[in-house]
């Protein structure tokens, strides 16, 4: 999987999980402001990413994650996908 593919996949999962249209989700989207995701929504979304990609994202690594792009980067690092 390359970065573009990963990005599409993460965006699709987040759109589904947060019940927002897919075209609203891109790397620049901010979870709270743009996607109306509160802290619980974010935890739930991360669970979906963990499930899909078979990775573990500890809470402390989620701290400071404000945008979809940051979440993509987190998953990419876990999977060893280079930008």
């Amino acid at each position: 999987m390359d970065m573009a593919e990963l990005q599409d996949k993460v965006c699709a999962i987040l759109a589904d999980n947060l019940s927002v249209p897919e075209d609203k989700v891109n790397p620049e989207s901010r979870f709270q402001e743009d996607l109306d995701a509160d802290s619980l929504d974010l935890v739930e979304a991360v669970l979906a990413l963990e499930e899909e990609f078979g990775v573990t994202i500890p809470e402390e690594e989620m701290e400071g994650v404000k945008t979809v792009g940051q979440a993509i980067q987190l998953v990419a690092t876990k999977l060893g996908v280079a930008a």
Binding site: L18, L40, E44, L47
Partner: protein, 412 residues
């Protein structure tokens, strides 16, 4: 100062016989059952395979897809019922701080709990949803209804099993009467037709096993009754302080005239055989309403279709109303809706209020053979035209909690 009076100005039923006042009342007066084979899970191996389900319930008219995903089915029903009732009341303009919500449930979001328990067992603690707790808690419905409308008045959930909906109506009535609120949404909801609950209630020998004749299975007061039918759904009533309701020209279904509550203090599930707890609730209710037993024109019974309840409730009615019990029509709308547990009291309160407003008493269907210990007029099988001024609705919960609500034709 004269005591504040309370009237019902909106009704929102979400039941196996119909959603919305029109379809609900049409089904009840036509004597139509909402009981059928369980479709929501595979019942192979279950001794009980029937229930009162709401099929193909669409959440879209009532909440966003995200809200629907983040809430239990019990909340879905509650939001629908509350919004239907509010619409039915003409969407009155209210002071949000003076508008309360009493929304009960018997069980709460058990389905959501079970789903997450499976995740926990299969995948571990770190995969459990952060929404599990807010989805399973019984008071979620009261919270979501308040959020949907922005009502910041008193808000609570009373969980008294099969009496929960009645307690919600009674406590909402008291909130308004005592000046703590001017308007309340009072209701109950239940969504617990699940493999585990069917198994548990079946083990108690509480459920009917008339699997081959689902529509005939709920037969309150009939000699051959063999248990209740587990049902789902919600009911909501809009309670308003009478003067403001009259001032805004609201359509008034009936007055909530009295409320009596008691405990059996006898057994955690079996009713006290002489109906002492029920008698106490009925008498307290009549006293609160300032009415004599002879004034009662109709009783919407708890009437679950279990051997024990229907016998002890009949005994209680005879004791509480004396000779007048034999002249009083008593019907159980659970014969049609099945037993909606924590929603039952609210839905049956709606039926009692509609009986007054429409001048029609809904029947007890599937009544075929008289039981020697159930010898009152149960309005068998067909609705009856009647001039109903005062109606009582009984609700008795596992736990021994009892509530009776009096509804009276509105007369200024």
């Amino acid at each position: 100062m004269a005591r504040r009076r309370i009237v019902i100005t909106g009704i929102g039923p979400v039941t196996p016989v119909g959603v919305g006042v029109g379809p609900f009342w049409e089904a009840l007066t036509a004597g139509r059952s909402g009981v059928g084979p369980i479709r929501s899970f595979d019942t192979a191996g279950f001794s009980v395979r029937i229930a009162g389900e709401i099929h193909d319930f669409d959440t879209d008219p009532w909440m966003t897809p995200k809200e629907a995903k983040r809430t239990d089915r019990a909340v879905h029903f509650a939001l629908a019922a509350a919004k239907l009732a509010w619409r039915d009341a003409g969407e009155p303009s209210v002071d949000h701080a003076r508008t309360g919500v009493m929304f009960s449930t018997g069980i709460g979001g058990l389905g959501s709990l079970l789903n997450q328990h499976k995740v926990f067992l299969d995948k571990g603690a770190d995969r459990v949803s952060p929404f599990m707790v807010p989805m399973l808690m019984p008071n979620a419905s009261a919270g979501h209804v308040a959020m949907a409308f922005g009502f910041t008045g008193p808000n609570a959930c009373i969980t008294t099993a099969c009496a929960a909906g009645a307690h919600a109506v009674g406590e909402a009535y008291r909130l308004i009467r005592d000046g703590l609120a001017d308007v309340c949404i009072a209701g109950g909801t239940e969504a617990s037709i699940l493999e585990l609950t069917i198994a548990g209630f079946a083990q108690m020998q509480a459920l009917s096993r008339r699997n081959d004749e689902p529509e005939r299975a709920s037969r309150p007061f009939d000699r051959d009754r063999d248990g209740f039918i587990l049902s789902e759904g919600a009911g909501a009533l809009i309670l308003e302080e009478a003067e403001r309701a009259v001032a805004r020209g609201a359509r008034i279904y009936a007055e909530v005239a009295g409320y009596g509550a008691s405990a059996d203090a006898y057994h955690i599930t079996a009713p006290e055989p002489e109906g002492l707890g029920a008698i106490q609730a009925i008498q307290a209710c009549l006293e609160d309403a300032g009415e004599s037993p002879d004034a009662v024109d109709y009783i919407n019974a708890h009437g679950t279709s279990t051997q024990l309840n229907d016998a002890s409730e009949t005994r209680a009615l005879k004791k509480a109303l004396g000779d007048h019990a034999r002249r009083t029509p008593v019907s159980s709308t659970k014969s049609m809706t099945g037993h909606m547990l924590g929603a039952a009291g609210a839905v049956e309160g709606a039926a009692a209020a509609l009986a007054i407003h429409e001048g029609v008493i809904p029947p007890t269907i599937n009544y075929e053979h008289q039981d020697e210990v159930c010898d009152l007029d149960y309005v068998p099988n067909e609705a009856r035209r009647a001039d109903v001024r005062l109606a009582l609705s009984n609700s008795f919960g596992f736990g021994g909690q009892n509530a009776t609500i009096a509804f009276r034709r509105w007369e200024a």
